[in-house]
Amino acid sequence: MKKRLYLELENCIGCRSCLAACTQCGGHEERNRNYVYDVNPLVNRQTMPLMCLHCVNPACARSCPAQAIQIHETGAVLSALVEKCIGCQNCTIACPYGIPKFDTEQNLMYKCDLCIDRTKDGIPPMCASVCPSNTLQWLTEEEIEAKQKNHPLNNGKWVASMPYLEGETNVKISLPGILQGTTKLF
């Protein structure tokens, strides 16, 4: 069954397990390819994770003159192919979310590949596997729909990633405030 990475930003506790876990995925050379940002560090230390959203029509791939950025059949936007990447860094400039990073030693771009060696076999990516706060989840389409139904927001923008970000994305993000519409038990 097809599953997607889904981010429930409100759950983030800033533990950065997702970063640590990313280093453990095969082929990531012990480097994390996702990020956690301090939203307001001097106030309450709210944090938010940012991973590649795996755009359906990704700006990084569109801008690559060497076709080094492949899109896997699952929708995952892969890291640059070693044999094709020419190190021009167009992708790092084109991506609106600052996801592709550049390794100057290898003259090579690297980015989140949605743990393709895991997700192609239905195993959740490392970040979502370990995320202790359920900020990162690996869900079926039905589960994501159910979430949207259970937590309706007045503005109708429950999922931010379509069409408001870089076109349609394979990773879905809930806006902060997802629990505003929750009916209390008592």
């Binding site: 970063l19 370990v130 706060s133 038990l185």
Partner: protein, 722 residues
């Protein structure tokens, strides 16, 4: 067993030339399930893979858990016994030479024997920890009393768990840290969490905590800081450090006044209600608000939510326990559950978050100065007799009860204790009032330390014995639910390192006590003797065989025999462990913190953890990812307080109390109260906040008041910055 909505059938990744060893994390009491990836050619641990089949944490891990495997083959491991010939170098990393086990054992046996011949049996002491297996904890107690014959043994649980133990024993007659399994938490209607920075200290509980809110349940958090948990709570009770008992009494008063009392439960299953009702009358919302600093509206609302909740769980941690009235705080919050009858059924009860890996099991099996295996009392002749039968000694040979952890350092200072065997603990960072503790360690005639890294405490040793990490040995631990689980061996010990139980067996032989220990050839032999030693005790592990633990995804104690599947929920029969079967609702007069702010020290200092480090940081400060994320301590200051002292973000300031001073970088944040400052305690040497903390002890648990003392901040003169 106990599989819930979070459980998913997911296959693990299987890389070529690798095997996965199912085990649990080496750190906190959550004991998250994980697979260690072992290369089948080198037989070394090379990574980690989530353990999706573990029902409690379903593959989830915090950053410490993800990187825990890096401990074992770390370059800092001690690979051979180390001896220091020049005692003038004590307290430094210098002067150690490598030796054989034989030489180290001979030296220890000679020194220990000489000291005991000159100054008596009780001149030796043992200081241990609870980040080790039940089997090791048990054997350490036996080793102290049988092989060394001294009364002085205590452990770092005194700095961590003993107030919870004291509170539970007084209220319920038994101390199992959680009355229900963690798989119940997300199904309750109200979580009342007090003094726990759950998101950073027990992050893998968070998916269940958030799930309560997602279902429409309530989260109430009492904490001086706006932690990630408190930030999202329905109600954040931002009390002054050290005033928890007033808050608990205030809420209890409102629960009683507003008729949330379960009369039937109170009448049939508890004692002490009348007296308590009278005592808490004084704690009106106004009075409680005056003491705690929490607005009376919030206090009223908290009582209303908890009172109305069909099911609720009261949870707490070191915030309320590390106080000189920690036991009262625990009983105070337990009162809420007893008065409303929200205990003794699924989805309702009380639970404490255990800080150390085996905080629960480690406190039950004889490492405490007054306890014997199975939670037996060393002062109870019948209990002593039962244990003596297993150990093969006579009751006359059983030493008297000793003193608590901090008090042992006082005896070292007075030269009443001259020898120390330290294992699995780092008191030179984690004890309060460190200037004194470090002096006491230096004052010892002879000290042995068993560790796998050269910790700050090992620097005071004459002999260091290289022990193994958790992944090089096997045994059981008891997690924060009271679930006995199995730690499995993933790799052979590196260098000459040995498991602590084996060290003790061999050392006992050298001390002429081999006949009591020589039958213990492998960890499983220790486990079998240990289970027998707990049989019939309050914490009865007899039925929890390793096979059963594997088959059942862990076994909850008590588990009395082979047919018993264990006890996930405590008190389902409404029977408590006091002789009359009733729980005790405790009338608890409020006491302020031992040291109140004054003109000279106008701030309150509180301490705690960050998510990246574990206890004294001896392990985690060496792991690159964790070190990068949090390389140094800091002092959290509210922006208005910072303005008053003319200090700014990232500036280094001097923080001081009556006991010491330290320089810290300032972290300005609105997450802290204006009258309070916070410093994490995981750092050693001159960065340790425990140089400043106070050693005021709880009268029952003998736990120091880490969480509150009076402090002052000073801007450093220009040029004085480090």
């Amino acid at each position: 067993m106990q599989r819930d909505k979070f459980f998913r059938e997911v296959e693990n990744v299987n890389h070529p030339n690798e095997k996965l060893i199912k085990t649990h994390c080496s750190y906190c009491g959550m004991q998250c399930g994980m697979n260690l990836r072992v290369n089948t050619i080198s037989n070394k641990i090379i990574g980690v893979e989530p353990r999706y089949d573990w029902p409690v944490t379903v593959g989830k891990m915090c950053p410490k858990g993800v990187t825990a495997y890096q401990q074992t083959n770390h370059k800092d491991r001690i690979l051979k016994p180390l001896i220091r010939d020049d005692s003038a170098l004590k307290g430094t990393k210098e002067g150690f030479r490598e030796s054989s086990w034989e030489e180290a054992y001979d030296l220890i046996a000679t020194k220990f024997s000489n000291l005991q011949e000159t100054y008596g049996k009780d001149t030796l002491s043992v200081f241990s920890g609870v980040s080790m297996t039940n089997e090791k904890c048990y054997l350490t107690g036996k080793f102290t009393r049988v092989a060394l014959g001294t009364r002085y043994i205590d452990y770092n649980g005194r700095f961590c768990m003993s107030s919870a133990a004291g509170g539970f024993l007084r209220s319920f007659g038994v101390d199992r840290g959680s009355t229900l399994p963690w798989t119940d938490i997300h199904e309750t209607d109200c979580l009342f969490i007090s003094g726990s920075n759950t998101a950073e200290c027990h992050p893998t509980s968070m998916f269940r905590v958030w799930s309560v809110q997602e279902r429409g349940g309530y989260l109430i958090v009492a904490d001086p800081r706006e932690t990630p948990l408190a930030r999202r709570a329905d109600l954040h009770l931002d009390l002054k450090p050290g005033t928890d008992l007033a808050l608990a009494n205030g809420i209890l008063n409102l629960l009683i006044e507003n008729n949330y009392v379960d009369d039937e439960f109170v009448m049939n299953h508890t004692n002490g209600f009348g007296e308590t009702k009278e005592l808490v009358k004084e704690f009106t919302p106004e009075y409680t608000s005056r003491i705690t600093g929490v607005s009376k509206e919030k206090i009223i609302k908290a009582a209303e939510i908890y009172g109305k909740a069909p099911n609720a769980i009261v949870m707490f941690a070191r915030g309320i326990e590390q106080q000189h009235k920690g036991v009262d705080n625990v009983s105070g919050y337990v009162n809420m559950a007893l008065v409303t009858g929200k205990i003794g059924r699924p989805k309702a009860g009380v639970a404490t978050f255990t800080g150390q890996g085996n905080g629960q099991g480690g406190r039950e099996h004889g490492q405490k100065s007054d306890l014997l295996p199975g939670y037996r009392k060393i002062t109870n002749p019948k209990h002593v007799e039962e244990v003596c039968e297993v150990w093969g000694i006579t009751p006359e040979e059983m030493p008297e009860p000793g003193v608590s952890a901090y008090e042992m350092f006082e005896l070292m200072d007075q030269k009443k204790i001259r020898g120390l065997y330290l294992l699995c603990s780092n008191p030179a960072v984690s004890a309060p009032n460190l200037n004194f503790v470090r002096k006491a360690l230096k004052n010892l005639d002879f000290m042995v330390c068993s560790d796998f890294y050269l910790s700050e405490s090992a620097e005071f040793a004459d002999v260091i014995l290289p022990s193994v990490t958790w992944s090089e040995d096997e045994g059981t631990v008891t997690n924060l639910e009271g679930r006995i689980i199995k730690i499995n061996k993933a790799q052979e010990p590196i260098g000459d390192s040995k498991p602590d139980w084996l060290i003790q067996v061999e050392l006992a032989e050298k001390l002429g006590k081999g006949k009591y220990f020589s039958h213990l050839k492998e960890a499983r032999d220790v486990a079998d003797e240990f289970r027998r030693a707990t049989k019939g005790g309050y914490a009865d592990y007899y039925g929890a065989t390793w096979d059963k633990i594997d088959k059942q995804d862990g076994v909850f104690w008590p588990c009395k025999d082979e047919n018993d599947t264990g006890t996930p929920h405590m008190f389902l029969d409404k029977k408590f462990y006091h002789p009359d079967g009733k729980a005790k609702i405790c009338a608890l007069p409020y006491r302020p913190p031992a040291e109140e702010p004054c003109e000279e020290y106008p701030l309150r200092l509180t301490t705690g953890r960050v998510v990246y480090h574990y206890l004294s940081g001896n392990q985690t400060r060496r792991i690159p990812f964790l070190k990068d994320m949090c390389p140094e301590p800091y002092v959290e200051v509210h922006p208005e307080t910072a303005e008053r002292y003319h200090i700014s973000h990232d500036e280094v300031v001097r923080l001081f109390t009556r006991r010491g001073e330290c320089n810290y970088k300032v972290k300005i944040t609105e997450a802290i109260r204006k009258d309070t400052v916070f410093v994490p305690y995981h750092f050693g040497d001159y960065e340790s906040i425990n140089l400043l903390t106070i050693a005021a002890l709880d009268p029952i648990s003998r736990m120091p008041e880490f969480k509150a003392c009076a402090a002052q901040i000073e801007k450093l003169a220009v040029g004085k910055v480090q």
